[in-house]
Subunit: 165 residues, 2 copies
Amino acid sequence: MRTIIFKVVAIDPNIPTPPAADWIVRAEESLRAAGHRSSAPRSAVLELIGNQECVLSAREIADELRDRGRPVGVATVYRTLEVLEAMRLVQRLDVGDGSARYEPALPGGEHHHHHLICDSCGRVTPFEDPRLERAIDDLGRRLDYAVGDHDVILRGVCPQCGRKG
Amino acid sequence: MRTIIFKVVAIDPNIPTPPAADWIVRAEESLRAAGHRSSAPRSAVLELIGNQECVLSAREIADELRDRGRPVGVATVYRTLEVLEAMRLVQRLDVGDGSARYEPALPGGEHHHHHLICDSCGRVTPFEDPRLERAIDDLGRRLDYAVGDHDVILRGVCPQCGRKG
DNA sequence: GTCGATGCAAAGAATTTGCAGGACC
DNA sequence: GGTCCTGCAAATTCTTTGCATCGAC
């Protein structure tokens, strides 16, 4: 099995910044407004997601929280992610390694970005490109389809792996 | 569990056509050239994939072949898809329903397309857009990354579901 | 005859679900 | 105090793997 290393390396124009505190506060408020109760486990998950530098899988979230001494059951992690995704507070990303990964979603397309995935080491790198966004927006308008989200995934070989051959 | 209906509805410019016979012949030749032996089960899988109108999962392939009286073990389907994907004869697509889906890949970007996924019924619809491709190509050239493949997935509500509310 | 391919069944991994107990409002 | 949330474990689902056997070359 290929070893997957997830590390964010900002590359091109407009380096994406982690949303951090803003996102966490907004997420907690949204959940409350939607009638959900607050709880320590859920807060721990929100805090981790909000401060993450990279896309995380449910297992990674559970493991990391356990390591930090705030263990949360995997089922709870999945259930939390389910709610967050339904409320569009997180964005789900499939990099093709067999598990779903999540990252905070910001309102109004703030820090909206896509991902480069290295076929060699599995590294995931975010990037932004206004022209690409415009092309997608225009396309969405032309289609007989109410387009909401979109994902763009580019696969290739990252600089590190490229140098090694 | 949401019922997923897969049906292809051509939409915008350049209606993608199923590659059919061409692809099947090319795939068989490529496999042979790569030193693989031919076999009835493998041919059955190739034939089904080559004539498919939509993205198929491993289970769907196995089920369909069983229904057609040419049963093929699931393991064989997975192993065949693995080889085909490595040789870039099929394109893997993750629509987010928990299983990987595959479609024939044509050489030289022929019939290259992307997908619209209906959040309501799960329908997958292919589309092509030259401008989007150009934006992605240019972007790839600018990045410090050897970009190979790319996937674009648009999610939204299809015309059928939109009408019903 | 050799070695790849197959099928079955077991193993693994990701995700979901049932349920009893605990916490929030 | 009712209801939502949690954790655990069992259940499901998808995918991979071990192994004896079969068949292409």
